[in-house]
């Protein structure tokens, strides 16, 4: 054997041995010794080390990938073993797993209520991101003359309910997976229920019945449609896992109906979403208790999760945080870009004063009262922190020809928020301007840097 050939053999052998360590521990422990021995035998008889060595090494790398994938799926299956509906009974026979009851009931219930509270701002925040596919479909339908042009409220509502459904389903699945056989079906039923409910609500024009000012009542009406569809779907998906699953229909309806009497702006009453959370949590708790009363042995021995090493937990948490951060910033960008596009479509003006006058006139044209005059236009106050020159208040005093509903007189001041774009000043919805202004800074949207540079000189 000449020297280059010997060096190649040594190199191949070393690479092969190093690669063997990359197998998952279980497989490595079981087979690595044999693989090494067989590889040595193969190479010992081989006349062409280069070809055979490459072939063996490439196949080993592929085998490692396959075993890693297999191991990951197996571990996933073991960790989620509690999720499976079939477990081994005392006599060794496979039996259907029974529903259990959370042992730390208070914390479980608190988690349920908090999740109901937290998913709403999450859904609001991601509304534009979830709205995009609906917007595309609705605009396509309008383009093909299947239906008339729809108000943006329709696709915003669909985006909101889709986000709400996915976040709610995920949070509840996390809380139920240890106790409810077929909790993955709960996820499907909940996400689908919110989605279908939103579509039904939008299809019947519920979004426009009460007008923009009653935004929370409008949301609540949508929730009622969602409650019904959600209850029916949860019953359908879980009727074999929970004996009294039919109760999920009135529970969800009641939870949704609890929002109806509330008639205040959404921003002020967000915390009242707690009420449906309490009702739905109490409902599922009651059903799990009933099930456990029928099968007391299940309640005594709830399935337990396998302990996951801290290192893996940290990696998992890191990955989740990284994905969440990516989704968050993508959502911020999409939301701000979409809102700026919409705002520009409604009109962009070279000066803030002109923008205020035009928007005040346009805004009241649609009401029963007519604008007689706009005076005292004032645009000097900056929004929130006073440092963002591209986000401003625009105020004016208006004189109407009659006293409109919920007003004491026909003359009063009006203030709205505006942001500066490449096309000029645009009206930004109440409360959204600081958020969009921040996103513009973050992603340098609408040529903000140039605007800031020009204003600083």
């Amino acid at each position: 054997m000449d020297e280059p050939q010997g060096a190649l053999q040594n190199l191949t052998m070393r690479v092969y041995e190093r690669l063997l360590r990359l197998y998952p521990p279980r497989f490595r422990h079981e087979f690595a010794g044999e693989i090494h021995a067989v590889f040595q035998e193969r190479m010992a008889e081989s006349g062409n080390w280069t070809v055979h060595g490459l072939h063996e090494t490439a196949a080993l790398a592929w085998s490692i990938l396959r075993e890693r994938w297999h191991e990951w799926r197996t571990r996933k299956g073991e960790e989620m073993g509690v999720e499976k509906d079939v477990v081994m009974g005392a006599n060794g026979a496979a039996v259907l797993r029974l529903a259990g009851v959370p042992q730390r009931g208070f914390w479980w219930f608190l988690g349920w209520i908090l999740s109901a509270l937290l998913v709403v701002p999450l859904a609001i925040f991601t509304t534009y991101a979830f709205s995009l596919p609906f917007m595309a479909v609705l605009n396509l339908g309008t383009h093909l003359n299947w239906w008339p042009a729809l108000d943006s409220a329709a696709w915003l509502m669909l985006g909101f309910t889709a986000g709400l459904g996915i976040f709610t389903a995920w949070a509840q699945w996390l809380l139920l997976r240890r106790f409810l056989p077929g909790a993955s079906r709960w996820f499907a039923a909940t996400a689908l229920g919110f989605g279908l409910g939103g579509i039904i609500a939008a299809a019947f024009g519920a979004a426009n019945i009460l007008g923009m000012e009653d935004s929370f009542a409008r949301f609540a009406l949508v929730f009622l449609a969602i409650g019904l569809v959600l209850g029916l779907l949860q019953w359908f998906f879980l009727r074999r896992s929970l004996r009294h699953a039919a109760w999920l229909v009135p529970v969800n309806l009641l939870a949704a109906a609890s929002l109806l009497p509330i008639r205040m702006p959404l921003d002020w009453t967000l915390s009242l979403v707690l009420l449906p959370g309490i009702i739905s949590g109490a409902g599922i708790w009651f059903l799990l208790q009933r099930e456990a009363a029928i099968h007391p042995q299940a309640a005594q021995t709830p399935p337990t999760r396998q302990a996951i090493p801290w290192s893996r937990r940290l990696v998992r948490i890191g990955m989740i945080l990284a994905i969440a951060a990516a989704v968050f910033f993508a959502g911020v960008w999409i939301n701000a870009s979409a809102m700026l596009l919409n705002a520009k479509a409604d009109g962009a003006y070279p000066t803030l004063e002109e923008a205020v006058i035009q928007h005040v006139r346009q805004g009241w044209e649609e009401s029963s009262a007519s604008v007689l005059s706009v005076s005292n236009v004032e645009t000097s106050r900056e929004v929130v922190d006073g440092v963002r020159q591209h986000v401003r208040w625009g105020c004016a005093r208006i004189q109407l020809d009659r006293i409109p509903a919920r007003h004491r007189g026909s003359a009063f001041p009006i203030c709205t928020q505006y942001v500066h774009t490449r096309d000029g000043w645009v009206l930004m919805g109440e409360g959204f301007a600081p958020f969009v202004g921040w996103a513009m800074e973050l992603f340098n949207l609408e040529g903000l840097r140039e605007f800031q540079a020009a204003n600083s000189n």
């Binding site: 497989f27 079981e30 087979f31 010794g33 044999e34 693989i35 021995a37 067989v38 590889f39 040595q40 035998e41 193969r42 072939h55 063996e56 490439a58 196949a59 080993l60 790398a61 592929w62 085998s63 490692i64 396959r66 075993e67 297999h70």
Partner: protein, 109 residues
């Protein structure tokens, strides 16, 4: 229930074990010989297939009593009843295909 058709690699491994239990290296050599050099199993590929067959209960691993160069006990692989059933079903399926093909060829003549 009718199992899915086997891959060529799986079929050759079962075929090599149908006659007698073999070591990993023996399986590779037998497959190479039976396929007249067309199917050359790499070691990693073989053991991934063997692991799957062990999990599916088609084969089992037994001690040989012999040891390899490093002093480790060598392992033999042999077909289980289930493995033999799967192999027989696949062989029957292939036989039927060959029969149908020859029938079709005869009718065209």
């Amino acid at each position: 229930m009718q199992p899915q058709p086997l891959t060529e690699t799986s079929f050759f491994i079962l075929l090599s074990l149908a006659a007698e239990p073999r070591h990993g290296y023996g399986i590779i050599k037998e497959v190479e010989s039976m396929s007249r050099g067309r199917v050359v199993l790499a070691t990693g590929t073989l053991y991934t297939a063997l692991r799957r067959m062990l999990e599916d209960g088609w084969i089992e691993r037994v001690e040989d009593g012999d040891s390899d160069g490093d002093g480790r006990e060598r392992k033999l692989y042999r077909l289980t009843e289930e493995g033999r059933r799967i192999f027989t079903l696949e062989a029957e399926r292939l036989k039927t295909l060959v029969y149908l093909t020859s029938l079709h060829a005869a009718m065209e003549r």
